[in-house]
Amino acid sequence: MLQNSKPERIYLGGEAEVRIYSDFVEKIRKKKNYRVSDLDKILRESRTRTEARIISAARRNGVPTPIIFDVQGEKIVMERIKGEPLREIMNTELSRKLGELVAKLHEARIIHGDITPMNLIYSKGMIFFIDFGLSFYDERIESKGVDLHIYFESLKAYFDNWEELKEAFISGYKSYEKGGEVLKRAEEIDARGRYVERRMRD
């Protein structure tokens, strides 16, 4: 690997530092000084291990992801996907395609945990999932519902035509056999977001 070269860009994400080199990417979960060291260690190590494992599993299930070159402690070295962030070129067709890919993830029991147009790259005619930092395995409808809820919320936050994009996603996601059930749960979770206030009613 090009150990001595300098990164082209460093992105300080919410959770990790991402160093982008010409043809590979390092994702480093740096120590967070705000949290107690026991918890910090647990989170960094378990998230790194799980992420590497899930990136590979997703690709085996037909979802485009970067190839992993190496995992060392809290660092993952992976292929750099060159393309455009989905956020920049979002349209209904892409949202529908994304629905099909999320269906594949959920069929494989993979919960992404952070599906947003900022975490996806369009390259060579495919949508790549590049960030599985908050992913985990789970079979439950609830977790899959939350997964969709997060995506729908991010659409609302970023696009004026979010309703259209949401509908397109749903049409793609329906390829999943339990799709209907998960979509129903996602709606319930949306309502629950308002739970706090409703709960306070007499």
Binding site: E15, K32, Y34, L39, R201
Partner: protein, 323 residues
């Protein structure tokens, strides 16, 4: 210009008076449950018994004629409590012949925070008993980017405190105990995207206590886990939205460990951390008065027919025309 605001969405009953420069006065008469948590009807009963006296006390310190606007928190909150303050505000507005403004309680926390700290376009972490949200402004609206999927952090702290035999309000007692905690016990850390959840953590922490772990260690582990979740989602929002300001508001914001963690997080990413003075952190009338002043100057007035309470009032519903 002078505004009077009445707050009473839950346990707090408070009247504040502000002008454009400063908080002129705040008078509080909070409801404190004898045991257990807040009973909405008992709280409302308390508010209705005390609101008259509180108004009199305020008007013994400031001439009613000097007031330009009467305002109240219209929601979100407990219906029975909201109705008491709304009624009181309507009566005052009619009697003094001053315009009435119903305001969003969450937005009031946020705007009074900006006012007192000088934060310009921050990501806001709003933490109280019932609410835990990460909020940021986009254009003419505030948007909730992340929030609790079940209970608010304050209620989570209260639930744990009650289980360990501590009286309401539990938050400050947990904070004190946590200072003497020595060992960290792992608890379910649940962050999903920008959303988070506390109820599983409460159950697990209660179990630790039942299994003989000291109150100090349970409190310490609970705070460290829960606040790390809040710091993480705040940081994620700042990264995504490319903001370099964080504003902490709401009653739980008085917790010094939470403040410290957020300060460290901001320092590490070269961002600025803001929190208003403690007396304006929890629910108070001054924040209602301040937001209504801002709204009044920008042409907002609430007609009597639109002044019914909104227990589910979301911050996203408010059109924000000021800077």
């Amino acid at each position: 210009m002078i505004s009077l605001g009445i707050e009473g969405t839950a346990w707090s009953l408070s009247i504040g008076v502000v002008d454009e420069k400063e908080v002129l006065l705040v008078e509080n008469d909070p409801y404190i449950p004898k045991e257990g948590g807040i009973h909405p009807r008992e709280a409302a009963q308390h508010h209705s018994e005390r609101i008259g006296k509180l108004v009199k006390s305020v008007f013994s310190k400031i001439e009613p004629d000097k007031i330009d606007v009467i305002s109240f928190s219209q929601g979100p909150g407990m219906g029975p409590c909201l109705r008491i303050v709304a009624t009181a505000a309507r009566v005052l507005s009619l009697k003094l012949e001053k315009p009435l403004i119903g305001v969003n309680h969450c937005l009031a926390h946020l705007e009074v925070g900006r006012w007192k700290t000088g934060a310009k376009n921050p990501v806001t972490l709003y933490v109280s008993g019932g609410n835990s949200q990460v909020i940021a402004r986009r254009g003419k609206r505030y948007r909730v980017f992340g929030e609790t999927l079940d209970i608010g952090i304050g209620n989570a702290l209260d639930k744990l405190a009650r289980h360990m035999g501590l009286k309401h309000p539990g938050g400050p007692k947990i904070e004190k105990l946590a200072r003497n905690g020595k060992r960290y016990y792992e608890l379910p850390y649940v962050v999903k995207g920008m959303d988070f959840s506390f109820s599983g953590m409460v159950t697990a922490a209660q179990k630790l206590f039942d299994n003989g772990i000291s109150k100090e260690d349970v409190a310490f582990s609970f705070q460290e886990t829960a606040f790390a979740m809040l710091a993480e989602v705040s940081e994620r929002a700042m990264a995504y939205l490319d903001r370099d300001e964080l504003l902490l508001v709401g009653g739980v914001g008085a917790n010094s460990r939470l403040k410290e963690m957020l300060e460290v997080m901001c320092k590490d990413r070269k961002a600025r951390f803001y929190s208003p003075p403690t007396e304006l952190m929890g629910d108070n009338g001054a924040m209602i008065a301040y937001l209504s002043l801002l709204m009044f100057k920008h042409g907002y007035v609430t007609e009597l027919k639109d002044s019914t309470v909104k227990p589910d009032f979301r911050i996203e519903e408010v059109d924000v025309s000021w800077e």
